[in-house]
Symmetry: C2
Subunit: 583 residues, 2 copies
C-alpha cells in the first residue's frame, strides 16, 4: 500500500497538475497551437521519409503525445516523428518489405513496439546510463551525415524522378541515371518551395519585424511558412490539375481518428528488427534527453532520465497500437514549444487534440498536396542539422575526437546508417581505452623551499638519487596496469642508486584488482632487487579498498599522508643507514 | 645506411652477445640441460592435448626457440608448446578437421603462421597495448577454467576409454557413458603415474634434501620426475607387451630433424581460423610477457613489449615452417630456466639443440610410451594452474572483478573456450565504463580555519549559500558527461540561492570533446538562470587543451588556481554586490 502511494506520489502529473492555473492553461494553449501548425506538414513529410503512408505521421503525433505527457518528466519536450529516427525506420523496415507496402506498415508498428518495450525496460531497470556511450562527436557526426543522406534522398521528390539507394553514392548514381525523366511542373513546385522555405527561414522574421509585427508573432509566422508552402502548392495542384501533368501527389488520406492497430507478433520479424530497434532506442533517447535537459536547465527545472525512458517508452507503445511508427522528442519543435511559452506537459495533450482535429477535417485537402513540397520541407528542415563545424572544433581540440567524427560520418554516408553509429561507438571506446592505457606519468622532485612536487622534466626541482617519486595522473585499472609495471621497472633499471620508490597517488581515483595485482608484482619484484615500494597521498576511498586486500601487509615500504612527509622520512632513513655504515 | 645501423644496434643479441663469457656459457648450458629434460615429456603431452601427433610438440620446441633467442627481448623466457595455447589450438583446429588427421596438422601450421604474422604486425605497428584489455581477473578465470577443462579431457587417457566433448559437462557425460570400457593396465599406469607425479611434486625435493643432496640439485631431480615416469612406464610397456593388453601407446614417431613444412594458403581456412588465431595471439602474448616482465624485474633487467611481439611472432612463423604448432613463453619452464641460472637467450638455443638430439636419438623408444603416462603428466602440470583463491580475493576486493572472474570461468567451462575469454573481456569493459560513468562527485565546503575543502556529507565544513562547490573525482569524458550535467542541474535546482558554481578539478586528468560540450551546455544553461560557472585547480595539460577551444572565452565565471582563492574572491564579490544593493 505504502509502495503504491510512493509510486503515485512521484507520478509527474501530480507535481504540475496540482498547481495548474488559468494562466498556465492560456500559455499551454498558445504553445500547443503553434506546435500543431508546425507539426502537421512535418508529420506528413517524415512519414514519407520513413517509407510510410502520410497518415502514419499524423497518427504518430496524437496518442504518443498524450502518453508522454502522462509519464515523461520534461515539462516542454515535444514528442512525435523526427527526421533522424524516420531515416532509421526507413532503413530498418526497408530490409523487410518495400516502402509503402502493408508489410512495411506492419513492420513499423512492430519496430515502435520493440523500441517502446526496450525503453520501458531500460527505465524500469534504471539502465539509462547506457546511452552515455554515444559520445558527442559520434552524435554530431551521425546527425550531420543523416541530414545529408535525408536531403539527398528527398531530391527525387523535388525533381519528380524515381531513385533509390541507402548510401549517398547509390542515391547520386540513381538520381543521375534518372535525371532525364525530371518533370518540369514538379521541379517548379519543388525548387520553388525549397527557395521560399530557405528564404523565409533566414529573411522572413526580420522582414516582418521591420514591418511592425512583434518579434514573437514574427517568429511564429516564420515558423508557419511550411504550412503556407503546403497550402499554396496544394491549391495550385488542385486548380491546375497538376496530377494529370505528372506531378506526384500525396493522394487519398483516410479521414478520422487513429485506428487501433495490433503490431504483428512474429518471432522472425522481431529478431530481424531487434538490432535496428536497439539503435533507434538509443539514438531516440539520447536526442530526446539532451533537448529535455537543456531546456529544463534554463528554467532551473530538472528531468529524471529514467522517468524519460518510461515516458518515451509509453509513447512508442502508444504509437504501435495506433497506426504510428517510432517517435521521440524533437529538437526544433521542443524549442518552439519552449519559446512559445509552454509551461506543462498539458501543452503536449493540447497539441495532440489539434492534430486529431486536423486529421478529422483537413485530410481530404491533403490528397492534392504535391510530394515535391514535402520533399522541400524535409530538405530545408534537415539541412539545419548539418554541422561541418564539428570537424574544425574536434580537429583543434583533440585528434581522437576528430577521428570518431570522421569514422561515424563516413560510414553513415558511404556504408550504412546503422553501421555508422556502431563504428563511431566502437572507435570512441577504443580511443578512450587507448588514452587511459597510457596515462600521464611523471617523475617528480621537490620545488626548492616549498612542499610542492613537480615534474622533473618541466621544472627545476631537487631529487634524492636514492628515491624515485612517480606521480600517475589516472586511475589504475586493467588497461594501464601493465604500463605502470613497464614504466617503473624501466625507470628503476636505469637508476641503479634507487633504494625507495614512491608512487604519488592524488589523481588515482580507483585501483581495480588487475592494478592491485600489478602493484603486488611491482612490490615483490622491487623487493628482490632491494628497493622498497611506498605510496603517498592515497585517497580515502582507494585506501578503504586497499585495506580489503592483504597488499598493505606485504608492502615493503609505507603509505604516507603527503609526498613531502614521504621524502623527508625516507631521506632521513637513508642518511641514518649511511651514517651507521660509515660508523 | 644509418637507419640500418640503428636497427642493427638495437638487435637484442648484440647486447648480450658482446659480453658473453665462459662463465655465462657454463650457466646457460646447465640451465639448457635442465629445461631440455623438462621439455621432452611436456612437448609430447601438449601435442597430444592439441590433437596432434607427438612429434609436432618436439618440432615446436626446436626452431621456434632459436628464432625467439634471436629476436626476443627477455633473457630467460623459455618458449615452446604450453598447456593453455595447446587447448586453444585443439578447439580451433577441431572445428576444421578431426584430431590427428593430416588436415588437422595442416590447420595447426596455418594457425601458427596466422598467429605469428599477427604478432609480428602488432610488434611492427607497436600495438602491444591491445593486450592490456585482458584484465587479471579475466586471465585468472580463464586459466583456472582451462586447467580444469584440460585435466577433465585427459581423464580418458588415464582410464583408457574413448571420450569427447568441448565443455566440462560434455566431457563428464562422455566419460560416464564409456566408463565400463576402462582398461585395467591403463588405469594402473595412469593413476600410478599421476600419484607418483603428485607425490614427487610435493614430497620428493624435501626427501632428497634431507637425504643430503643439495637444494638446487634436489629441485632439478624433482623437476625431472616426469622423465622418470615416462622412462619407467615405457620400459614396462615394452617388456610386458602392454600394447597387446589394450594399453594405448604413442606409436611410431618419425626419427630426425624437423621437416620443412609449408602451411596451407587457403583463404577459406584462414578466415575460419582468424578469430581463434586472434585469441591465441593475445592470450599467448599476455602469458608470455607477464612471465618475462616478472623475471626481468628480479634482476633489474627490462623487456621491451613490442620486441617481445617480434620475438614470439618469429617463433610462431618458425613453428609453421618446421612442422610445429602455436608456441609461446611458458610460465613453469621459464621459472626453471631462471632458477637454473640461465643468463642469456643462448640457453634457449642450447635447449633447442638438446631437443634436436632427443628427436634424432630417442624417438624409437617413444613408440612404447603409454598415452596414460602423458595424460597423467598433463593433469599434474595443469592442476597447478587452477587457483580458486581468485574467487575469494576478488569477492573481498571488488564485486565487479568477481563478476568478471565468474563470467569468464563459467562461460569457458560450460560453453566454449573462445567465448569464455570474449565474455570476460566484454564484461570487464562494460564494468569499467559503468564505473567511470558514475564518478564519485562531492559537494565540498571549507574546513574551518584551514584552506582545505572536504565533502559536506562527511565533514563539518563551512559553505556559502550562494556558492556551490563540486569536486569530481574522475576524468571527464563521454561516458560521464551527461552524469555531470544531471548532477549539477539537479543540485542547482535544489538550491535557489546559488549564484556561483565552482567545479573543483584536481582529479580531472582529461576532458574530451563530449565533456567539453557538456561544460559549454552547463555554462550556457546556468547563465540563463543567473548562475556563473567557475573552475578551480585545473591541471596544466587539461588547461592547455581547454585553451584550444573557445570555452574559456564564453565561460561566465573564472578559472581559479586554488579552491580557497575561488571561494574567497567569489564571496567578496557577493558581499560587495549585497552592500551596493543595500546602499
Amino acid at each position: 500500500m505504502r509502495e503504491r502511494l510512493s509510486i503515485l506520489a512521484s507520478w509527474p502529473p501530480l507535481a504540475w497538475g496540482s498547481s495548474y492555473t488559468r494562466a498556465t492553461l492560456s500559455s499551454d494553449l498558445t504553445a500547443a497551437l503553434i506546435v500543431t501548425i508546425m507539426l502537421i506538414p512535418q508529420s506528413l513529410a517524415y512519414a514519407m521519409l520513413a517509407g510510410l503512408p502520410p497518415q502514419a505521421g499524423l497518427y504518430a503525433s496524437i496518442l504518443p503525445l498524450v502518453t508522454y505527457a502522462l509519464f515523461g518528466s520534461s515539462r516542454v519536450l515535444a514528442v512525435g516523428p523526427v527526421a533522424v529516427v524516420s531515416l532509421m525506420t526507413a532503413a530498418a523496415i526497408g530490409k523487410i518489405a518495400p516502402a509503402g507496402s502493408s508489410e512495411a506498415i506492419a513492420a513499423a508498428l512492430a519496430l515502435a513496439l520493440i523500441s517502446g518495450l526496450m525503453l520501458l525496460a531500460l527505465g524500469i531497470l534504471r539502465l539509462g546510463f547506457l546511452a552515455n556511450f554515444l559520445s558527442h562527436p559520434v552524435i554530431s557526426g551521425f546527425i550531420t551525415a543523416s541530414g545529408i543522406l535525408i536531403a539527398a534522398g528527398q531530391l527525387k521528390h523535388v525533381f519528380g524522378v524515381s531513385a533509390s539507394g541507402h548510401t549517398v553514392q547509390e542515391i547520386a548514381i540513381s538520381l543521375w541515371e534518372n535525371a532525364s525523366a525530371a518533370n518540369l511542373a514538379t521541379v517548379v513546385i519543388g525548387l520553388g518551395s525549397a527557395a521560399f522555405l530557405f528564404w523565409s527561414r533566414r529573411k522572413l522574421k526580420p522582414l516582418l519585424v521591420s514591418s511592425g509585427i512583434g518579434a514573437r508573432w514574427a517568429d511564429v509566422l516564420a515558423k508557419a511558412s511550411p504550412v503556407a508552402a503546403v497550402a499554396v502548392t496544394t491549391i495550385a495542384a488542385w486548380t491546375l490539375d497538376l496530377g494529370s501533368a505528372g506531378v506526384r501527389l500525396v493522394g487519398a488520406v483516410p479521414q478520422g481518428l487513429p485506428p487501433l492497430t495490433v503490431p504483428p507478433i512474429d518471432t522472425e520479424m522481431w529478431l530481424s528488427l531487434a538490432g535496428s530497434a536497439t539503435l533507434i532506442t538509443i539514438v531516440g533517447f539520447v536526442e530526446s534527453v539532451s533537448v529535455a535537459q537543456t531546456l529544463a536547465a534554463k528554467r532551473r527545472q530538472r528531468i529524471v532520465p529514467d522517468q524519460e525512458l518510461i515516458g518515451l517508452g509509453s509513447a512508442n507503445v502508444a504509437a504501435a497500437f495506433s497506426g504510428g511508427y517510432p517517435v521521440t522528442g524533437g529538437f526544433a519543435r521542443s524549442v518552439v514549444n519552449f519559446d512559445a511559452g509552454a509551461e506543462t506537459p498539458a501543452a503536449g495533450i493540447f497539441t495532440a487534440v489539434g492534430i486529431a482535429i486536423a486529421t478529422l477535417t483537413l485530410t481530404p485537402l491533403l490528397a492534392y498536396l504535391p510530394q515535391a513540397t514535402l520533399g522541400a520541407t524535409i530538405i530545408v528542415a534537415v539541412l539545419s542539422l548539418v554541422d561541418f563545424g564539428i570537424f574544425k572544433r574536434s580537429w583543434r581540440y583533440a585528434k581522437a575526437d576528430f577521428a570518431a567524427v570522421l569514422a561515424t560520418m563516413s560510414v553513415t554516408l558511404f556504408v550504412s546508417v546503422e553501421l555508422g553509429i556502431l563504428a563511431g561507438v566502437l572507435l570512441s571506446l577504443l580511443i578512450h581505452l587507448y588514452r587511459t592505457s597510457r596515462p600521464h606519468v611523471a617523475v617528480v622532485g621537490q620545488v626548492a623551499g616549498t612542499e610542492h612536487f613537480r615534474n622533473v622534466l618541466r621544472h627545476e626541482v631537487i631529487t634524492n638519487p636514492a628515491i624515485l617519486s612517480v606521480r600517475v595522473d589516472e586511475s589504475l585499472y586493467f588497461a594501464n596496469a601493465r604500463f605502470l609495471e613497464d614504466f617503473l621497472f624501466s625507470a628503476v633499471a636505469q637508476k641503479p642508486d634507487v633504494k625507495h620508490v614512491i608512487l604519488v597517488c592524488p589523481a588515482v581515483n580507483a585501483i581495480d584488482l588487475s592494478a592491485l595485482e600489478s602493484l603486488e608484482n611491482i612490490n615483490r619484484s622491487l623487493a628482490e632487487s632491494g628497493v622498497t615500494l611506498n605510496l603517498s597521498e592515497v585517497k580515502g576511498p582507494v585506501m578503504d579498498r586497499l585495506k580489503r586486500s592483504d597488499f598493505l601487509e606485504h608492502l615493503t615500504g609505507r603509505v604516507f599522508l603527503s609526498q613531502h612527509l614521504a621524502v623527508q622520512e625516507l631521506a632521513a632513513g637513508i642518511n641514518k643507514a649511511g651514517a651507521s655504515e660509515k660508523a
